[in-house]
């Protein structure tokens, strides 16, 4: 190997976690939109990762309904990740999902790297009311240091999502958006994943808002430009729902 042949610089890892509600109420157009939007965002994430000298982006997905399951047993790079359509049925065990997420937010499992990691991004997608002990599960998760450092955003789908509870997951209302139609859901999944990954996978900018604050600021703009999307801090004036 010549002296000028170099190895790529070691990069940190930034794991993007999707925590996706696949309970019965998501059946039909909602789960369809989730399937389509995540499939479409993967190549965008791959491109951001490929051009980023600070970090490599990996993706993990936890689905919850009656119980919860990881789609793969380890985070995968955006280029490796293969999407298989999800179907919806069962309860909304978000509490259990929190406990499982906390288990994997650990250096022994999902956060294992040779070159360190940036704080992860957690994106929660849900349309309903948790059916298990969500407060108990979340309390446990809140002790996790990765969770504490993470960029956290939630997308609440439709009128039935309990935003007061979801807010407990993100830490504040500004980081919760509610969407009231399919197009808004798809668009927000894409923009939130891209923005949060872009910001989360770079060395932090000095003197600016923190990463969570930057993501929230961008989120506000996306919401303003999206018909049917509202910040949970400023919910829909007269909620009208187009879900089947």
């Amino acid at each position: 190997m010549g002296i000028l042949d170099s190895a790529p610089v070691p990069r940190r890892t930034m794991v993007l976690f999707f925590i996706v509600d696949t309970s019965g109420s998501m059946t039909g157009s909602k789960i369809g939109a989730v399937n389509q939007a995540i499939r479409e965002v993967l190549p965008m994430l791959d491109e951001i990762s490929a051009n980023n000298a600070d970090a490599e982006i990996k993706i993990a997905l936890l689905e919850f309904s009656s119980g919860c399951r990881w789609i793969y047993d380890e985070p995968k790079t955006a280029s490796e990740f293969r999407w298989q359509d999800r179907e919806a049925s069962g309860l909304t065990d978000l509490g259990e999902a929190c406990i499982e997420l906390g288990r994997k937010l650990s250096r022994d499992t999902f956060m294992k790297t040779d070159t360190g990691a940036f704080a992860p991004v957690l994106i929660l997608l849900t349309d309903g009311e948790p059916t298990d002990d969500f407060p108990g599960g979340l309390k446990k998760l809140k002790e996790n240091r990765w969770y504490k450092a993470a960029i956290k955003i939630a997308i609440a789908i439709g009128n039935d999502a309990n935003e007061e509870l979801i807010k407990e997951f993100t830490g504040n209302m500004e980081a919760v958006v509610e969407v009231h139609n399919i197009e808004a859901l798809k668009k927000l999944i894409r923009t939130v994943s891209v923005t949060a990954s872009q910001i989360g996978s770079q060395s932090s900018t000095v003197g600016n808002k923190d990463k969570q604050g930057q993501v929230v600021e961008q989120l506000k703009k996306d919401v303003e430009e999206t018909e049917g999307a509202y910040s949970a801090a400023k919910p829909a004036p007269d909620p009208n729902d187009d879900w089947d």
């Binding site: 170099s6 610089v9 070691p10 980023n52 872009q198 060395s203 932090s204 000095v206 003197g207």
Partner: protein
């Protein structure tokens, strides 16, 4: 904020219009479009983030001042505020230029050490001119440079954050490239630029980050707080002479582990000094561009071609050299002791470059008749005058050869002279 459609005509502050042709790419701050103005193509950077009036006015002033040097893809024309935003036009990046990040990701590599050295010199020179104007760049990072891997030519982009020193438009760079006092909350100035410059130069030569060693890779979660620590208040150079807690890690920091011992000691010493705790913590003591240029030219003086393997290697005046590629000895029979630029090793195929003059002054060649005889060919436009040890003068015209002999004095130009030793 609205994106721009192809065909749209955008108003410039000079009263003329610029036509959008198509999108070239987008980043965190905006979208770059291919555009046309009076029959020429330009890149239009169009902001999709909100920026203050100060930012806009600063951009306007920078356009009035003009580029500090040719190395800058400087804002040339400003648009009025319209479609909810604004932008500026600049020259298009030329072909064969790649973002510095692509080098770090090993998508592109320098084709020669001399191109690498040239790039380092051009980066220094660009910032020298910028600082001379009283500006500071503010957020030097791996996205700001486009480099030609064959020639080492550099284009410095993203010049919209450049401001007069002591001012700031609110945009500060990435912690990984920032001086510790900026990370701690102070305003950027030329001294903080000097720091970022040293980081960039280190990464250019060694292909790894100067503060990312054992201590930093073993930090499991690089939170913003940890980043401020490891790159700010507690930054330790990975090759610090006194503190060995942050050494490069085998299997992780390949490039620096391989290149550090091979690249000449002059360069090692410079970085050890630049990243000493003393200079990290004392901004006004930091090495300025002119000092870096001097050091890098010394490195260039030592760069020769190995006669065994034909690859580039280093040969100094104060050490016996072996080739960094094939390990065979590199014999230096003659050296050129210049008045201003140190000592150059004169070995076969050595290209003699002096100071800031971009064109080579001479090349060393072996006589076809007798391999023992070396000569220097005049590559300059003008004749040299040569003085022999016994005081006789003769001309060496462009393309003519001067057989090397100790004691010869060469007057290359009015200012540049040297003696063969």
């Amino acid at each position: 904020m609205a994106e721009l459609e192809p065909g749209l005509k955008i108003d410039l502050t000079n009263g003329e219009k610029l036509k959008i042709l198509k999108e070239i790419g987008r980043g965190g701050q905006g979208i770059v479009y291919l555009s046309e103005y009076q029959g020429h193509n330009y890149a239009l950077k169009w902001y999709t983030q909100k920026y203050s009036d100060d930012f806009y006015n600063n951009l306007k002033e920078n356009i009035q001042h003009g580029a500090p040097s040719k190395a800058f893809l400087w804002p040339l024309m400003l648009t009025t505020k319209q479609n909810g935003s604004f932008g500026y036009a600049m020259e298009l990046r030329k072909k064969d230029f790649f973002e510095f990040g692509d080098y770090l990701l090993a998508k592109v590599k320098f084709q020669s050490i001399s191109a690498m050295i040239e790039a380092a010199l051009q980066i220094c020179d660009g910032f020298y001119h910028l600082h001379l104007r009283g500006f500071s760049y503010q957020d030097i990072n791996d996205g700001n440079f486009f480099i030609n891997p064959h020639t080492g030519d550099v284009l410095i982009c993203d010049n919209d954050n450049v401001t007069a020193q002591g001012q700031n438009t609110g945009i500060l760079g990435k912690a990984r490239y920032m001086a510790s006092e900026i990370i701690a909350g102070q305003k950027p100035d030329k001294y903080s630029d000097y720091f970022s410059l040293a980081v960039i130069l280190f990464m250019l030569f060694y292909g790894n980050h100067p503060f990312e060693g054992k201590k930093v890779v073993s930090c499991p979660c690089m939170t913003e707080e940890n980043e401020r620590k490891h790159f700010g208040s507690e930054a330790i150079f990975i090759l610090d002479k006194n503190d060995r807690t942050n050494l490069p890690v085998r299997g992780v920091h390949h490039n620096v582990i391989r290149r550090w011992p091979l690249f000449t000691k002059v360069l090692q010493d410079a970085f050890i000094e630049a990243f000493s705790q003393d200079l990290i913590k004392n901004p006004t003591q930091r090495m300025m561009e002119s000092k870096w240029e001097k050091i890098i030219r010394q490195v260039r003086n030592q760069l020769v071609v190995c006669s065994s393997c034909e690859n580039e290697t280093f040969a100094g005046s104060d050490f016996v050299s072996t080739c960094i590629n094939c390990g065979r000895p590199v014999e230096v029979k003659y050296r050129l002791h210049t008045n201003d630029h140190g000592i150059l090793a004169l070995t076969p195929k050595k290209i003699v470059l002096l100071g800031k003059i971009k064109e080579p002054v001479a090349v060393v060649r072996v006589s076809k008749k007798n391999a023992e005889i070396l000569a220097m060919q005049n590559l300059a436009q003008a004749k040299w005058i040569v003085e022999t040890p016994d005081g006789k003068l003769k001309d060496i015209n462009p393309t003519e050869f001067l057989p090397l002999e100790k004691g010869l004095k060469i007057y290359f130009t009015q200012h540049e002279k040297g003696e063969i030793i």
